[in-house]
Subunit: 365 residues, 2 copies
């Protein structure tokens, strides 16, 4: 069997603690199931800046490009609030997304039944919620040029960011959304602001054309992104798959994640195009939550989102569907048993730390 | 007494029905209180397109520029989905905002006590909610150039939108936010994506500097806009005034509006700078909801947002604070009495149509 090469980039804050729990699962799968994972490690974000003065080193970028999949923790924290823009912690993540061409960001917003009460929404609105947000990740205002601040003289500066989308970028992300919808409830809702943005006009046209040409069996709806944000709050269960651009996807997926009441639990996958020869996709998996510097190092962080991200890795990078299902089931079982980290604590539940939560999931796996 | 000049632009869909209820209040104030309102009317959106082939005629633009305040209903509907981009219904609204230089959009997100149960959030999270979103309205990606779709050949097109912000634009909108915070709970939260956008970096710097120079008595916090969306859903009462750019403001104010459960009730004000000589500000008042083409013409639309927009007009354009308070109180009283349009219907309440709702408010006024 060929090795399965994983690069672990724990990053900053609670990233390393959460990653440690995934490492235990990897070790278990290697020992008990001969899974053949070969892991390497690298630095990203503030920890890379402290070591190398950049948000990710060339060496670690080379490792990421060579790996079958990258597991990413989290980056950032007040310590690095004032480092130069180009080497700020987020730059490491953005470079990974761009250089690995990870254009498809999959963000499931699911509500774990045991946590329906943790949502700020009425439980009946989120119970059983299962949305998949497909966010374009390598285009739009995140990477468009010019992206500058210019001194205009007399005390005035001008900041410019540029949103750019080409047809092929919209085509490939909508194809991913339609394909995933086929494995779910066969409904896609595309969101943009075509009433204000030219990129919204093109987005709408290309999604519509892609649908008509290749995915007419899937139901397609369009919604303005602001109305989409409203509808997510009003009645989230109306959605199956949502496809949207990089910036709207950032906002909408965070709103959707918070709706579930399960923010500390939500994973994401960022995928590239399948390689022409091998069919393999470059991929990076990361929790939706941030580095939570306020609780870092205390052993109380919730490792579930990181572990669930590894489950996505098993599913999408290694086609280990049974193992992915089992790992996700293990997480649900542990929650059903009332084992909780502080962020999802509830009356009558047993509060545990990061390590115990990892152990409990491993025991169920 | 000098006349108070109002231009009414009812627009499309439920706009005209809602505006009719405001007209009754204006007539009452003229007759009973000698308020001296002089009203004129114009067309905007689809109705202007049908009459003149544009989203607003030059004649009506001239009237808007001359009026003390503009009352705006709503624009758009499926009928005009395929009209050319430059004359789509929204273009009329965007031109009014731009040509009247209405840079400050005030969107209160308040939860009427009688409606706390209508929210999709748990009632305890929204009861007593009172946020003011101050959205920049004449800059950013809405108006930045280039804004184009270019044919690149071989089937590819490229869409470009440009987000542009100059120092003075950020200064003046943050000054408005700080000033309004002084009349409230003295807290401002500024939202941007400085970790990704250069305009976010400049936004953050200028808001910080404006605060330090002139408004140090107000508490200032900064939040990334995606985290801000999350926090709005998680615990909206943590906010007092939120200041943000045009596009983030569009998204965040819609999410905030939906949280209150009172979407059909929320007004907005769009204000220009005070005139150097007279101190008067150009202003436009409009409901946050849209044209709701599905229920237009049925006499069932909720006119409260439009009436509450007129209350904002009394307050901000004519300094008629007592009258504004009384009109807002009249709305609250009618709701307390259990009089409801269909969109906010509840068990045990009495369902009424648009006209009856207007009459009930007028009776309480
Ligand atoms: C950390 C930041 C650059 C990033 C983004 O804006 O994409 C984050 O918010 C996310 O959603 O993954
Ligand atoms: C109608 C549309 C152009 C407008 C906007 O995007 O600003 C609307 O959504 C709003 O928020 O007032």
């Amino acid at each position: 069997m060929t090795a399965r090469n994983l690069l672990l980039l724990p990053g900053d804050g609670i990233g390393p603690e959460a990653m440690a729990e995934v490492r235990k699962i990897i070790a278990y799968m290697n020992e008990e199931q001969g899974a053949g994972f070969v892991t390497d490690e690298g630095l990203v974000g503030g920890s890379a800046y402290d070591a190398h003065g950049v948000a990710i080193s060339e060496e670690d970028m080379a490792k990421a490009l060579a790996a079958d999949a990258v597991l990413f923790g989290a980056v950032g924290g007040p310590k690095w609030d004032d480092v130069p823009y180009d080497v700020r912690p987020e730059a490491g993540l953005l470079r990974l997304r761009k250089d690995l061409e990870l254009f498809a960001n999959l963000r499931p917003a699911i509500c774990y039944p045991a946590l329906a009460n943790a949502s700020s929404l009425k439980p009946e609105l989120v119970e059983g919620l299962d949305i998949l947000i497909v966010r374009e990740l390598t285009g739009g205002v995140y990477f468009g040029e010019p992206k500058t601040i210019t001194d205009l003289g007399n005390g005035q500066k001008r900041a410019i960011d540029t949103q750019v989308y080409d047809t092929y970028e919209i085509e490939r992300i909508s194809a991913v959304a339609f394909e995933l919808a086929r494995t779910r409830n066969k409904r896609v809702c595309s969101m943009e602001k075509r009433n204000v943005m030219k990129s919204g006009v093109l987005w709408n046209q290309v999604v519509t054309a892609t649908h008509k040409e290749k995915f007419a069996d899937v139901q397609l709806d369009h919604m303005l992104a602001d109305a989409g944000g409203m509808q997510l709050v009003r009645a989230p269960k109306q959605f199956d798959v949502i496809v949207t651009d990089n910036l709207f996807g950032d906002m909408l997926s965070d709103v959707a994640a918070m709706l579930t009441g399960s923010l500390g639990m939500l994973p994401s996958a960022s995928l590239g195009a399948p390689d022409g020869k091998t069919g393999k996709r470059k991929a990076l998996y990361e929790p939706v939550h941030g580095s939570a510097p306020d609780i870092a190092g205390k052993g109380i962080a919730n490792p579930i989102a990181m572990i669930a991200s590894f489950a996505m890795c098993l599913r999408y990078s290694f086609n280990m569907v049974t193992e992915a299902d089992r790992l996700e089931k293990a997480i649900a079982n542990v929650l059903d048993k009332g084992i909780r980290t502080g962020d999802i604590m509830a009356d009558g539940a047993r509060q545990v730390g990061t390590v115990e939560m990892g152990d409990a999931i491993l025991a169920e796996f």
